[in-house]
Subunit: 343 residues, 2 copies
Amino acid sequence: MSSKKISKSPKKIGANLAQVADAAGVSKMTVSRILRDSGGFSENTRARVMREIDRLGYVPNRLAAAFGSETSSTLVGVCVPRVTSRLYGEVLESIDRTLFRFGYQTLIGANEELPDVEEKWLRGLLSWRPAGVILSGRNHSAATLELLKASSTPVVEIWDLNTSPLDVSVGFNHFDCGYEMGHFLIGRGRRRIGYVGTLPTTTTMGSTRFEGFSKALTAAGHPLVATELLHDRSSFYAGYYGTENLLSRENNLDGIYYQDDEMAIGGLFFCNSRGIDIPGQLAIAGWGGMEAASILPQRLTTTMVSTHGVGKQAAEVLVARLRDEPCKEVVVVPTRLVPGATA
Amino acid sequence: MSSKKISKSPKKIGANLAQVADAAGVSKMTVSRILRDSGGFSENTRARVMREIDRLGYVPNRLAAAFGSETSSTLVGVCVPRVTSRLYGEVLESIDRTLFRFGYQTLIGANEELPDVEEKWLRGLLSWRPAGVILSGRNHSAATLELLKASSTPVVEIWDLNTSPLDVSVGFNHFDCGYEMGHFLIGRGRRRIGYVGTLPTTTTMGSTRFEGFSKALTAAGHPLVATELLHDRSSFYAGYYGTENLLSRENNLDGIYYQDDEMAIGGLFFCNSRGIDIPGQLAIAGWGGMEAASILPQRLTTTMVSTHGVGKQAAEVLVARLRDEPCKEVVVVPTRLVPGATA
DNA sequence: CTTTGTTACGTTACCGGTAACCTACATTAA
DNA sequence: TTAATGTAGGTTACCGGTAACGTAACAAAG
């Protein structure tokens, strides 16, 4: 068992602005201007300075820049419920990629759907004086709101649409997604429909779809028959045993709507294992447009969503916001119900 | 279409150290000491200062702290191939959670398995003078190595084990995983075995398992019969059509090893759709211990790994490293071959 | 009674950029 | 010709913490 003992890192990288300036025979300010391309220098000087930067291996100190001017932070905090989730992971990836292109750095956080965790994270984030924040959901603690207001940090709320956002918001219309699917199942002649999902925690994430769905059924005169809400996070297995529970309570359902595709696929597998005929005996519908659905023996009836679109647009709106360009207050990312072979 | 135009954010949060100090009738230094709990103050003073901090809503400026002392950065950069991957996502989540507990912030990056992207990301990261870096894989560009050396930033390499790490390394022994599975399949009487995976990019990620597997087969006198490497990232669908391709070329295989569980499940579905008897006619084995496997009609033969363990240990090792505590140079996270019903 | 040590602070000097303002010099318009 | 304008810089004064060092008051040891 080998072990390492290491001296305190001196943390001095190559050269600083002053040294570059000295070497090039100009002032710090000129080098700074050249690096930020803010004009006021000749091409000649620029070439000389760039040569010295390269020679000295200068790595800019954004810490000093952000500290010194406050307006020049390129740090953006992003908080999602979980990193371990295909949907949020994709959003995160798109955000990161887009922000990176614009020259921003992404600081991530996972709130685990708890406003308190989010608040604690935000407190830490704000100590870095970020240029902006991207939060998910619309349930935030009072202290969170106050912190954001006090720091006047631009905020983009994603995922869940928000008609009166803190600042700006980008997301799906979950209510409509649910309503549309409810309407669709009714149209397919289903009359005794159930729902399987996870218990909404203090945040509203996801449960809005449930509301829309339920409303559509009620409006059609065939209200929801049974609901199974699990004390667990969404997963294939949660869908599997959620279906088992639901069907053991209500054995004559003719349709089930799931919180998402992952759970729907789990449900589909349960039905397969018990010889339940899909969609003859039972219709199954999910949400999210999961890639895994493409290899199923039956294509899943679901709502396709562009997580990529949410991430990209959220990042773009934030950047516009940071550059003081006008931007929409609410961006609705479209979704599309895609009938498959399961409903 | 409503739009927002916003004034430049002043970015002045509540009070600063000096104002807190004034309000409490002490010097800045005393407040600083109290906040960092570095001793040299009385309980009486502490209480008074804390009261003022609370009253004024003071949010520390870590930017200033990190800038001023360089040793006190609490920023850690983490670069994984992709955020959108169950395995890496879990690693990321564990790292973030663990580092958060120790008071560090995580700056993420995705290198897309390209050393150049990693290098570009690292250059940006270093401009924040981070306390440490966690990189995945062991294939880094020359400039990356030089940057790390010049900045003398502690580095933890994860995922792929590295017997001569840059600094310290935490991961799985992929070679042994592959070898063990090869040995296992041979033991089950398989003789004409194939492999389905994705093309290794410039990084070595994943291909080490392939090498170990291949070696085991050769050692047993039944070398690999066919290989299908896809120009695509791992996914259920990649496993599905990879299997289709492989079997169309070699129709008398009696076993297939997959790069990971996701692809193995895809392969399993292909076989189901074509009526291929598993494991009678063909054995299937994956790697990773994916949750989805739990709902399959047949339990998948796979190697269970603790992504959580890698993340947690990587973070812990880094923290130890930052605190100048002695730590192991190489941490091997154990894996376990779990025979299922598919091989 | 002096020396030494400890506790609880205060002072000073940075860290490396950037905003704001200033200064030559050249060019152009009135 | 003179004033106005533009170009390519330089100067200065911060931003908000922290390391390093200084100091007064008091206690215990020799």
